[in-house]
């Protein structure tokens, strides 16, 4: 099916938004952490897991979603949230721990929730997989044609919840799509040492659902596979699994020395970088001019600037706010 020019440009813009946002996060993160690294130092304290390199996956999948479709993300979820249509200002303010943040400073980088976008994520590997199954169950019981998407890494595909969730989704024929982001490593452990099959797509067969392996550095490959799986889910034909082969350029967390990555590996993957390659393709195919591409770049940069300014200028939560929201 032909993809409209607007959609192609939007895919490019979304990937760029994730990339520029996260590059800015990295800059700000290190602002307070050199020359001496103290993880608790402001402006952005705590652990930081960046998605840089994997943008095509979130972008290609979320392009098919409506605001009221549910997404369960991971500990590395800025990209999923932005691709779902998230607010950069609230996101940045949350990373700063400000009162104006998405969760009023209670969630932080790994625990982002947006009720309006039906988005949630968390710091426990694989725990969001059954949440997506439950959301899909709710949609089915409510007679809605919404879908749920669960993003998780190749490491998470080895926890029990993955297998339990695929089985539940299949026996109940639920509108959920499982997206495995295979970035080669579970922190430092390579997939070859952790996973009995070559691709997690093969595991889908064990649960009677379609499973495909796609190039996660190619936004169009992801977009097409996800489009098919999500349409199938919306039609009430049940769950699917897509494994997207991709690469995180950064460490598991900022400050990870990444000694487990072979020399030259990143350079090889950088050649497949989804953003400049897609930009070149769009220009070559006459979808985008150099000038238009530069304009998009400037617009996205302005959004990131605005988000940073908003976060820096926002107030801290009152300390006593910590006592609210345990119970409704």
């Amino acid at each position: 099916m032909p993809v409209s020019k607007e959609t192609l440009i939007e895919l490019y813009r979304t990937m760029l938004k994730i990339r520029l946002f996260e590059e800015r996060v990295a800059e700000i993160y290190w602002e307070g952490k050199s020359p001496v690294f103290n993880i608790a130092a402001d402006p952005i304290p705590g652990e930081m897991h960046l998605y840089i390199g994997e943008e095509a996956v979130a972008t290609g999948v979320c392009a098919h979603l409506r605001p009221d479709d549910m997404v369960a993300g991971t500990h590395r979820s800025h990209g999923h949230y932005i691709a779902k249509g998230g607010d950069l200002k609230k996101l940045m303010a949350e990373l700063f721990g400000k009162k104006t943040g998405l969760c009023q400073g209670k969630g932080g980088h790994m625990h982002l929730f947006d009720a309006n976008l039906h988005f949630g994520c968390g710091g426990i590997i694989g725990a969001g997989i059954p949440h997506a199954v439950g959301a899909a169950l709710a949609f089915k019981m409510q007679g809605k044609d919404n879908v749920a998407v669960s993003f998780f890494g190749d490491g998470a595909a080895n926890i029990g919840a993955f297998h339990e969730s695929l089985n539940l989704a299949a026996i109940w024929k639920l509108p959920v799509v499982f997206i495995v982001e295979d970035n080669l490593y579970a922190i430092s452990v390579p997939k070859s040492k952790s996973t009995a099959v070559k691709s997690n797509a093969e595991r889908a067969a064990a649960y009677g659902m379609p499973g495909v392996l796609v190039d996660g550095m190619d936004v169009m490959a992801v977009y097409e596979a996800a489009g098919e799986a999500l349409a199938r889910a919306r039609r009430g034909e049940g769950p699917s699994l897509i494994e997207c082969l991709c690469y995180r350029y950064k460490g598991h967390f900022e400050g990870d020395p990444q000694l487990y990555k072979p020399e030259g590996e990143e350079e090889e993957w950088r050649k497949k970088d989804p953003i400049p390659n897609f930009r070149a393709k769009l220009i070559k195919e006459g979808i985008l001019t150099e000038e238009e591409a530069a304009k998009i770049q400037a617009e996205v940069k302005a959004l990131v600037d605005e988000a940073e300014k908003f976060a820096r200028e926002s107030p801290w939560p009152e300390p006593e706010e910590a006592l609210k929201h345990v119970f409704l």
């Binding site: 439950g134 959301a135 709710a138 019981m141």
Partner: protein, 335 residues
């Protein structure tokens, strides 16, 4: 016109059925909750009435279906999920510990997770270490979970309806020995009058199951009945015992405990959960903080002495508080 007498398991199932009729968002899932009606009868008759869609038998996948209950609640459903024995929560602990109890808080109050997780507790029938625990103290320790522990059919029904209507996650613990199951030792109090119409019992309101003036016993579930048995014996010895059934640990009716201790000046906490770092210590601490000067004797605790629940009758009877041990502790308090 006589009052209708039913068992605790029937009271729970009736509460769920009435809420399912009232609210289409309510549904039940768990292992053997459908055709079988729940291993302890808590979903008796529901499957026949509501069918597969709303009374879902699950595979043996606690992490999966408890996590799915969280996800369904986030999307506007009100799931009741049964984990057959509290001992099995190990298989889904992450979903309770890190998600069900925390999403509301982590989201800055944007999201709610109205799940009722019901589960069976308690020993006294030789099911040993992995099928006899109580563990409500463990869950009461975690911020974000309401903890409900009925001891009578009347309380069981009203507290279940309240739990289903609550917008927060609720863990509802029913004691196997109190369910009124024909294959358990029959305790008279497990069959009792229960109104047919729906009613609620607010959380955080303890019930004084017996008034007295010499000693306050605080307990939940089976230990309420053991304490009442002990109180009857002690009455003949001229000792007047007040028995407070907390009914919910979170929220906790501190006032009822403190007021009672101010009256009786003596406190005994009886607990079928483990002794250390649990309910009994918490209640003693609350009394120490709020009513220490009213105490005529140091508080006492009778609980499972920090050992797993053993199998053999002689061993199990030794560790689970009995009416005799409770009575003896009361005598020591007033002596």
């Amino acid at each position: 016109m006589g009052e209708r007498i039913i068992s605790m398991y029937e009271a729970i199932a009736e509460a769920i059925a009435q809420e399912m009729e009232r609210d289409p968002r309510v549904f039940v899932m768990g292992e053997d909750v459908g055709f079988y009606g729940g291993i302890f009868g808590a979903t008796t008759g529901l499957w026949k009435k509501f069918g597969d869609e709303r009374v879902r038998d699950t595979p043996i996948s606690e992490m999966g279906f408890v996590g799915a209950a969280v996800g369904a609640a986030l999307e506007g459903m009100r799931p009741i999920v049964e984990v057959m024995f509290v001992d099995f929560t190990g298989a889904c602990f992450d979903q309770i510990l890190n998600h069900m109890s925390k999403i509301q808080y982590m989201s800055g109050g944007q999201l709610k997770v109205p799940v009722v997780l019901m589960t069976a507790i308690g020993g006294g029938y030789n099911d040993a270490a992995q099928h006899s625990q109580c563990l409500y103290g463990l869950f009461a320790h975690l911020p974000g979970l309401k903890i409900v522990i009925p001891s009578t059919p009347y309380d069981a029904k009203g507290l279940m309806i309240q739990a289903i209507r609550d917008d927060n996650p609720v863990m509802y613990f029913f004691h196997k020995g109190l369910m009124g199951l024909p294959w358990m030792t029959i305790i008279e109090a497990t069959w009792a009058p229960v109104p047919e119409e729906p009613y609620t019992i607010p959380f955080g309101v303890a019930d004084i199951k017996r008034e007295g003036k010499d000693v306050t016993i605080v307990a939940v579930a089976m230990m309420v009945h053991r304490a009442l048995e002990a109180a009857q014996k002690l009455e003949k010895e001229g000792i007047s015992v007040e028995v407070i059934d907390l009914r919910t640990l979170v929220p906790l009716d501190k006032e009822a405990i403190i007021n009672s201790v101010k009256k009786t000046h003596r406190l005994l906490v009886v607990d079928e959960d483990y002794l250390s770092y649990g309910m009994s210590g918490e209640i003693v601490a609350i009394v120490a903080e709020n009513a220490l000067e009213y105490l005529d004797a140091p508080p006492k605790r009778v609980a499972v002495p920090d050992v797993p629940i053993p199998y053999s009758n002689t061993l199990e009877d030794f560790v689970i508080p009995s009416a005799d041990r409770i009575a003896q502790a009361v005598r020591e308090l007033v002596g």
